[in-house]
Amino acid sequence: MGLYRSHVLICGGTGCVSSGSLEVLEALKKGLAEKGMDKEILVVSTGCHGMCEMGPIVVVYPEGTFYCRVTAADVPELIEEHLYKGRVVERLIYKGEGKASDVPHYTEIPFYKKQHRIALRNCGYINPDSIDEYIARDGYAALVKALTEMTPEAVIEEVKTSGLRGRGGGGFPTGLKWSFCARSAGDKKYVICNADEGDPGAFMDRSLLEGDPHAVVEGMLLGAYAMGANEGYIYCRAEYPLAIKRLKRTIEQATEYGLLGEHILGTDFSFELHIKEGAGAFVCGEETALMASIEGRRGMPRPRPPFPANKGLWGKPSNINNVETWANVPSIIRNGGEWYAAMGTEKSKGTKVFALTGKVNHTGLVEVPMGTTIREIVFEIGGGILNGKKFKAVQIGGPSGGCLTKDHLDIPISYESLSQVGAIMGSGGLVVMDEDNCMVDVAKFFLEFTQAESCGKCPPCREGTKKMLDILTRICAGKGKPEDLEALEYLGTMIKETSLCGLGQTAPNPVLTTLRYFRDEYEAHINEKRCPAGACTELTRFIIDADKCIGCTKCARVCPADAITGAVKQPHVIDQDKCVKCGACAEACPVKAIDRR
Amino acid sequence: MKGLGETFGSGAMTNDFKSIKEADVLFVIGSNTTETHPVIGSWIKECKAKGAKLIVCDPRKIELSRYADVHIRHNSGSDVALVNGIMHVILRDGLQDQAFIDERVENFEALRKVVMEYTPEKTSEITGVPAELIEEAARTYAAGPNSAIFYTMGITQHQSGTDNVRSLANLSLLCGMMGRPGTGVNPLRGQNNVQGACDMGALPNVFTGYQKVDSKDVRARMSDLWACGDLPASPGMTLVKMMEAAGKGDLKSLFIMGENPMVTDPDTNHVRHALENLDFLVVQDIFLTETAQMADVVLPAACWAEKEGTYTNTTRTVLRVRKAVEAPGEARADWEILNDLARSFGAAWDFRSASDVFDAIAACTPSYGGLSHRRLDEGPLAWPCPTADHPGTPNLHVGKFARPNGKATFAPREWQKPHEWPDEQFPFLATTGRILYHYHSGSMSRRSAPGEFVRELFIEINPADAQALHVDEGMMLRVTSRRGTVSGKAKITDRVPPKMIFLPFHFAEAGANLLTAAVVDPDSETPAYKISAVKVEKA
């Protein structure tokens, strides 16, 4: 391999690919070859950088210049100016808060500066298709260490010491979970990676699998060694074709190097790893449903106990962790549990990856130490609310999470603190909402999702979520009854109490938390037939302020429903019965005479 | 029954139902178990699901074939050759249980000699089964460790029926698959109380418990117990012989209890002639059946739900039958009628209850000696159960066979061509049998819900043959043998191989037995229902 003076890293994650990063990659390769610079500059396709909305992202090393929204058309300039002449192409660099005076190094950008990347440490930095690059970043060193210097018990102890807890949402101490499975008798055991990330808006697992798949595999190898398993599955949703492709390549490479297969590193430890593609069922993120799905059955959960550690896949002791959990393990083994435990809060150690979305300036993946406040994430890393609007709430924990208010902004995030206020860590979805979001509508949105994904096995989830959705639908339509709130609270509490699996046990959270913190909005919908945020169409009214109206007829002309009448130069009127609430009139009005209420 | 009797010393099913679940290999031959014995079929499928191996041998593609590890579709009537071929492979490869043979079986050399001829190639030629399948079946069966054989009428209803059974017995002895749970040769009885009727001596040559009528001691003991005079010494005629004798006019009178030979017996036209030829026919039944209509006197009997008594199932287990409802009108339980009829003959019978009768059975039948209604009310028991404190015998031949020297014997048999074989004039092979929804002559099942579900005769025919005959599903087919003709709706299915048709025999108005020949197995006198040469036409 020759020596390259410069490496140009292009994000090959799903986000950037859909914004056209493949074309950029091609253009770069072609352009460099034409200039005869392909021997001195290497172009590398990497995993996700986390800042997908700014994609396609290109980073030029050794300077660490971070370019965003690069198109194929920008490439000649990039080559000529930066790569040939060493002059930064200022118009393409990331502009942070609008100051472009100095060109920040990648790591100096506020979005990244506050982060502490352990799970994501290689994402966007190495070529995920190259096992050598992973090894160059100390990859598989933890495996060698474990197999040559540590007993399985010692590996579990190290994970226990680290305080790592399940990153898929449950937050169960990983080391303890491993010790259960390790203790369970059986000649055959399985380790499983849950990569069935299904929360709308969450993509941390996808990024990890696409950006650093070897870390996940190494984590599983360590777990398998610690628990005495010799076979593993990665259950990945079929909607992540790139992740699956990368994983297949990863398994091939690791097998070639003898890091998977028989007698790994010449020891007695053998491990076989399979990939299973999901088939489109959110509930398969639940571990017993996931196992049923691997077995080829309907992905319906079953009650625990017996726990998978005793009776899991095909009745054999099994251990399931999610992608992020596994990805943390190699660093923990390499650097020691103490190192990991030094980060985070008393009970929630280490870092957590969040998918920051919604009405925030910088959306994307952020990895921060536990104990970071929501304020830091939303306002410092995320750059605050879009368009200078007012922060209203943050929905945390995915569709099963809860909505928190500005009063919770300074809560240091940890499993405990979140559950205290009715939310959950979940897999790490963080949706920021501003004053234009109706909380009833938001609750309804999430419930629509969980209701549609209910497997139908247990009555509380099957019948209960449907009934809650029915009630929310009618509240949003202005047909709510005063007793509905009580019914929602009762149903929500009981569904949580009686449902079979995590999906049902958490599905009411968005409703219950919004009822708790935004009850006035519900009451406005029911009692005043009014949506304070103006989001629920059926409760929204467009009214022409007769004092302001100049009678220009523009509104009447754009109205698709012919609901606006009025003579030229006379104030116009909207017939509320005919109005379809499209808002076209308000947009068209030159004097802002139309109010949305 | 005879085949097993002479080989093992007892003709009954060797193992109980629990034993099925302990089998590692299930060898099902000539038994469409899921249709004829659905509950046993469900256990076989359960075993298979839990990892047991399944060998299915049947010319038809039956439901169990779907689950078979080894599925053999041999030519109808080639069973002896098939089993000999399997044994050939076992002996060739030394897979037999020599210790078991040495210790417990006689006549091994004779078997070796016969079986030697049946190389897989030769067997394949006779049976139409690829040699590899024969080899695989042999290896699978011999590997066990516990292999059980199940068969039904597909084995016995041939002219060579007894030889078929003997061959299966040879196979099980060869591999020592006997006397342990999960092994054995298990004939699944077609009717609810075949075992009991035999046990009770409703056979021409034995009293209850297979005590031979030609034994002077036995007769003496019986006449003692029954307090009667001399009992007839020479074995009587079998059912088929009686029918023949009636046809010839040698038999003048027949008393038929609960049977409908006009539907169930072979060669219906011949049966009709025989019954018409009788001087005096008495039929005791619950319906005015096709046979009852020909009777001089018809006696109305109580049915299953209307009387007390016992049945003995296919595993020799004696079970209680209890009265649930009153019989209609003046209909009476068969045992009551028989008691009164005997009195009309002048005999001093005085049975007050079925329980009374059972006590009399126990008194004269050693294997039933320890049984009584009282004991059976607590739960069924398998015979032999000689004394009141005996726990019954779920598995036979544990350690010792029932023959005089305690040893079993090999009964090697050569394969013989069936009595009738398709030819130019009658190119199809017809086979008859039961279907799930019906029972026997259909007099009960056709008057119940299943009768509404399957109303009429259908004839299974292979798609290739149907195409050649230009016949579509549901079109009428006419089937003719040397004895008669029936018509039924075509059911086109690859369950039957080409040039074979299958007809259920439950439908009197389109009686499959119009086709069958009254040809019987010379040993057991079982009719050869499974093979008739026929021609098939579009009706």
């Binding site: 299973k276 088939a279 080829g296 059955r297 095909w314 609430k581 499209c582 | 779907r66």
Partner: protein
């Protein structure tokens, strides 16, 4: 595309063969079969049932549980028309009606030549471009009925 029974059977045999002696093959088999046939036709499901000895009811139970599987033929291209509020008020119904008329299909129907499947969807999340439709991965915004001919023409 017509496929004979034998072709179906041999294809299915090929698909199931890696799973014959392995556990957990049903979902990958169905995925592969759907990939092969475009959807899961009854004869294919029956053949899978016969080959794998998995009860038909169980296979359908699995196939109807997961969103990925389709029991009816799907077109080579999936046309999604947004029926969200924003699109509705800007005439998406007219787009939908015109498509139905042009393609001779009903909602969620597939053209006879299996070229297109038409799916009205709740919202495509591109309200700024209303009315919106997508064909496969491509998004078309501010669609007018008279544009449909050209748009459909791009997809064979």
């Amino acid at each position: 595309m017509t496929t004979t029974q034998e072709e179906v059977l041999s294809k299915v045999r090929e698909i199931v063969s890696p799973w014959k002696d392995k556990k957990g093959g049903l979902i990958p088999i169905l995925q592969q079969a759907q990939h092969e046939f475009g959807y899961l036709p009854p004869e294919v499901v029956q053949a899978i049932s016969d080959e794998m000895l998995i009860p038909l009811a169980e296979i359908y139970g699995v196939a109807t549980f997961y969103a990925q599987f389709h029991l009816k033929p799907r077109g080579r291209h999936v046309v999604r028309v947004c029926r969200g509020t924003a699109c509705h008020v800007r005439g998406s119904l007219k787009i939908l009606e015109k498509l139905k008329e042009t393609l001779h299909v009903t909602d969620n129907g597939t053209t006879e030549d299996l070229r297109f499947t038409l799916e009205p969807v709740a919202c495509l999340g591109a309200c700024g471009l209303a009315p919106v439709m997508t064909i496969d991965e491509q998004t078309f915004g501010r669609v007018r009925p008279e544009m449909l001919g050209d748009i459909l023409g791009k997809f064979e």
